[in-house]
Symmetry: D3
Subunit: 292 residues, 6 copies
């Protein structure tokens, strides 16, 4: 069960209203790397988890991310507070209101007109948050890797937002939030390596014929070798012929059909055959003719 | 520039048509962990990348994933080939066709009615592929972690699909594809650690006051300690008061308003004030009354 | 700030695993009328709200809805627990696993293959939750009406789910959740009527010429009168001519163009004019000709 | 059956082209509170409705909303007419065209480049309209409440748009459209209360133990009491322990497993156990090391 | 302005309720090739169109498509009528209701639980209709081609649905709807060819160096020649070298940077350089080690 | 199998960085008419196609479109290169960075903050690419028409982008890409007419009673006649009565119900009946009362 305390996890102090900045902040409220995504990611994993250590950790961090969602959403609400009042009360000249709605140079018009200045669960481009942002699949060594990556991404988005604001109170809160992503990443790393072995993920081993092969599929000036495709770990295959049909077959697909299927397909083929010998006049040729 | 060779990277041999199985296979064709997501993920990263080693690797693997997309899509096409002919030609009794469309117990009806049995870029539940599945953010230490996680997830989905089919040809192809995910994960791991340092991701360091704190936000029976929240690496904070307003403030948000903003907000507040002392009759009470 | 207690708000007791039923339950986990939608709806409204009474109420109820999300998600996790283990460990014959994945007659295959049996934030049809489900617009008399409606809808979905299960523990938990929607609806009703006046919503009055007119736009057998279009409250307009151009104009749109705009439009019109006097041969006519 | 009269329901007079304003108007054309959403909402409800009075009313209002869709779409078309011609004919200098496309400060570039200035079914942020905006569930006392709320929201969005334009013709048309939302809300209210009882919605009563309880989930400075949680109607529960496991159980979930399920889960648990006693070296620690 | 007549354009007679069939019918109600897509496609084109002939035609056909939407939606409503009553009234045993909800073998459970049996604007897989289905771009020779294609697709989906039902009334109505698509396609063809020239679409001519070249990008067994790539109309380029950098350049991208940009990029490159000479230990290697 | 050559199909030369222009270019990278849509469209059709000529052509063109995706994505990467470095390194003053992020007047802020300047698979408004853009249905005469239309649309979007840039290198590359759309359209036209007959699409003929009827559904000033509705090809029906119930029935829907269904529906009707004779007080009336 969740409980709520009216004090924020980190005090939000905003020095002046700024709907354009508010709009950028939405990236971490309702964007793919934002706090709702984080909270939902860990919470839903936690519900499904049976391992007691991971379950506890996931619920701890999910709950903290909800508290972060509150912090970043509160920043948005503060930055939009002035604009919200003016639009609702029509407290400015029409032309001035119009300018303030469209002048931020980003999608803050949407935040004002559609959401009345409230923090909406959209990214900074106005796209509604959706659960496709969560990539959990219910296997811990995969999900923990996903969590590690998610924390790394969130850290970077916070870093970019910090680079874009001079408001000291906003900057401090963002730095706190950014730092917590670093901390969470460390917890997920520990939890991943507390499972042994954790690579390859899952239960089935790979096929040894293909597990350490590197196919040099992109060729030309710029080809490089390094540990990621080096002879120490990989067989490096550049010859195009050896990249095809690596099972030793002919590379052609086939399927066994029963007689009814075969007949239906033959009928379909005959009915829709394209005639390679014809040179039909086409609609484009009709349409290219000029003159009225 | 891309070129195409008509031989598949792995020969597809399907023993009999099976639209229900085809539908499950769509998970790796147009699903979030599927091959289009992988190809687009690495290809778009590769276009933006300036580091020569990573650029080459990303394009190599992107191109291979496109070739995998072809393999898995070809499996879908083979499994659906019989159903496609029968529906197009109305080659069965209506009732029989209806049964075959709805009898697979999953969303294969959609594949037949809407897509005519062709491999559509949807997941096994019929949801169209979308680029929100790609979580690249243009920072290599984050993106490589995302790639590692993506390969781990794809490996697991293949493992589940392998567990669900007895068709030897399909199983072999899936094992090849699964194994390649393991190989790619290794390359991305090497590429990540070829950047030093790579943690924390990005340029800004974390705030040392908060980087090694673990907030025990979820409490009760089931609390556990381990390396992910242990004293060796983390300060463990369980006291609720110490989890709030960790900046030392009062945890209340504020923003400086200019006088016009203030006036507009006061007007808005007055106009929409809720009266805590009234006990108004409501629509629900009107609606709860019975009798005509 | 949020805190979490490891005890559920309502104890979940499930009598046997049932992935098909789990899948139906997802409707209230990640569906449009579900608990995540409710929690996000009230939480984001609460962040933006300045009225102290409404803010407090919205945060109270948002927090409770998160606790309900945990209850319904836990039901899903319990119902899927057996299937999760079997698929991960390949603990059954392939054919048996395949049957169990596709035999539920709904989208539980997706829950298994893609999400590994964990409670995913999707509806019972597999569509990911998205913030478009939240219709808050930052105006209290509108948002409270939206909340009232949302609670009414959620109540009905729970009622339908209750009608579909015989598992006593599941039924009890659903009844609790359903009842809480009734209670929340009452709170939102009180809060709406604690604002006076609250109709029409917003600040601008309607135009008295059109505020009490009922246009009988659909005509024929089945036309009816009642209080919703009755003479006591509405002027009933059936004459088609009086339904058009009700401003007294000619009903034709116009816009003033500057000379450059005019010229460009004339060029465009000339270039793309359709000739009403020609009877051109078309692609369809080419295509309708038979014979090879 | 629908018929169309070429005269608009309200004459549209636009004083000058303005793509930026056009873009804002899209909010009520293809946005969530817009006229397509309204028309589809009532039309689909009307098709399913068996009650003669409601069916007639729903079809009347749906048809009127389609006519409003035409009015607002026509406003967009007029506001964009000049820009449409110039871009199609390349009738301005490139730099000037570029400025006009990107200078509106909102998403009007999208309307121009992608839609050629035509009224597209997108909101003012460019997000395509989707049927998730419609929250009908096929139960009249819920759907009518949803309709009431939808009309209230639409009224507010029109009010905001009116506050943002000085063009008298546009303003007049918007005022007409806004007023009609007020009128429709009144009809839906009448129709709701013409059903007795209508609260609680649906057939199943709530559980009296929980129907009049208010859980004070959010606590701290700012707690308030009012009719929405007052003693006159609600039992107010603040004690955290009484908020958990309100059924009197232990708040722990459980499910009965059959032996095969149990075995598979034990195998899974053992294979993926996290070791709380280990302190493994992690990828983050590898990555944090500097120096080459 | 739209008006509505309570008689359908085509009388709907359904011989018995069948939620599974209803669900398939949704494909043409809220699916990509369905009637809402058609109506919205032509209606929005019509609003933007200035050519009098095309405008009239688009509004005629849009209005008819709305009337078709009513026909297909009514079919869905009739097919679901029985199920709707039973679920709302809990008029069957729980187990029986559960079977009827999940037994159709497609997504009809969603239609019942979420939409209460009403015709929802979703496709047969439950995906909500969205305006991305409409591909209008505001250029008549492109849009008319899009309309021709849309009619062709809709015709085929109706054909498939006809092949799947034995209910004579449903079949007749579908045949009417299918036939109207054929008729509309003919009108759009005429309208396209009434513009001369209409190929290539738009105003800018193609570059003659590249307008009649066919690049044989996919090579191997299966290469074919026909009028689509034949010597009569195309220069056929198979040599891989002649397919690259066809402008005669080196095929390498470049951009002029100003000094500040250059410096920032160099800093970024140095900070995130991957070292091709190192062979770092990776997380995968840590994770692959066994033993505790 | 795909292979990649590091040389582009067309050399990209960009004269200076310009994130605002980059953002417009995204329309053809990740937009509905862009190159990913084209590549996926033809590739998935090709996988399902059994006709050798069409299969070969589809794979040729799909592969070329992938190469075009690379060209347009590379343009985006070059145009964003400077901005990418500056934001990552915080190489400018905060205020300057903020201005550059929000000053382009379109959605380039999103490209910078979320994607770090890399080419993301979104349209110019930031909406992620999705497979709903692909309208293939697995029937060649429909799909080829869809392809023809898609090429026409893509040609026009390129034409608009060409009109918006003065950068010679970008312009040249766009002209090449635009020209290739013209060429591909020609190939698809040839392939369509190489199937005889190809109209009407599919196997079932239309009903001759309705195949050549034109319903004049939109009436009033502006009605026009031309070949698209002319007497040479169509019976023109203007009388409203003859547009309804064209099957000769009464235009009223019906369905046969079994007794249980009938009973449940009667119960439902009684429970939710709206009383046309009552004039109930409503929530709106309560809310309209002023005074406290």
């Amino acid at each position: 069960m969740f409980a709520h305390n009216k004090r924020l996890q980190y005090t939000v102090r905003v020095s002046e209203c700024n709907p354009g900045l508010a709009n950028l902040m939405l990236e971490q409220f309702g964007g793919p790397q934002g706090e709702l995504a984080a909270a939902c990611r860990y919470f839903t994993q936690g519900l499904a988890e049976d391992d007691p250590g991971r379950k506890d950790m996931l619920l701890d961090i999910a709950t903290e991310e909800l508290s972060h969602l509150e912090v970043i959403g509160t920043i948005v609400a503060m930055l939009n507070k002035g604009a919200k009042g003016k639009l609702a009360e029509a407290a400015e000249e029409t032309a001035e209101l119009y300018r303030s709605i469209t002048g931020a140079g980003n999608d803050s018009h949407l935040t004002q007109v559609l959401y009345g200045g409230g923090p909406a669960l959209v990214n900074s481009g106005g796209a509604p948050w959706h659960a496709g942002y969560i990539d959990s699949i219910g296997e811990p060594t995969a999900d923990l890797r996903s969590n590690i990556a998610a924390e790394a991404r969130a850290k970077i988005i916070y870093e970019r937002l910090i680079n874009l604001t001079d408001d000291a109170g906003v900057k401090n809160a963002l730095q706190f939030l950014m730092t917590r992503e670093i901390s969470h990443q460390q917890s997920f790393e520990k939890a991943l390596y507390a499972i042994t072995p954790n690579f390859p993920p899952g239960k089935l081993p790979g096929d040894p014929h293909f597990a350490n092969v590197y196919f040099n599929m992109s060729q030309g000036e710029g080809d490089m070798r390094g540990s990621w495709n080096g002879d120490g770990h990989f067989t490096y295959v550049s010859e195009r012929k050896e990249q095809c049909a690596v099972d030793g077959g002919d590379g052609q697909p086939r399927v066994a059909l029963d007689p009814d299927e075969e007949t239906a397909l033959e009928d379909l083929a005959a009915r829709t055959a394209s005639d390679p010998d014809a040179d039909p006049t086409t609609g484009a040729e009709l349409g290219a003719e000029t003159g009225r």
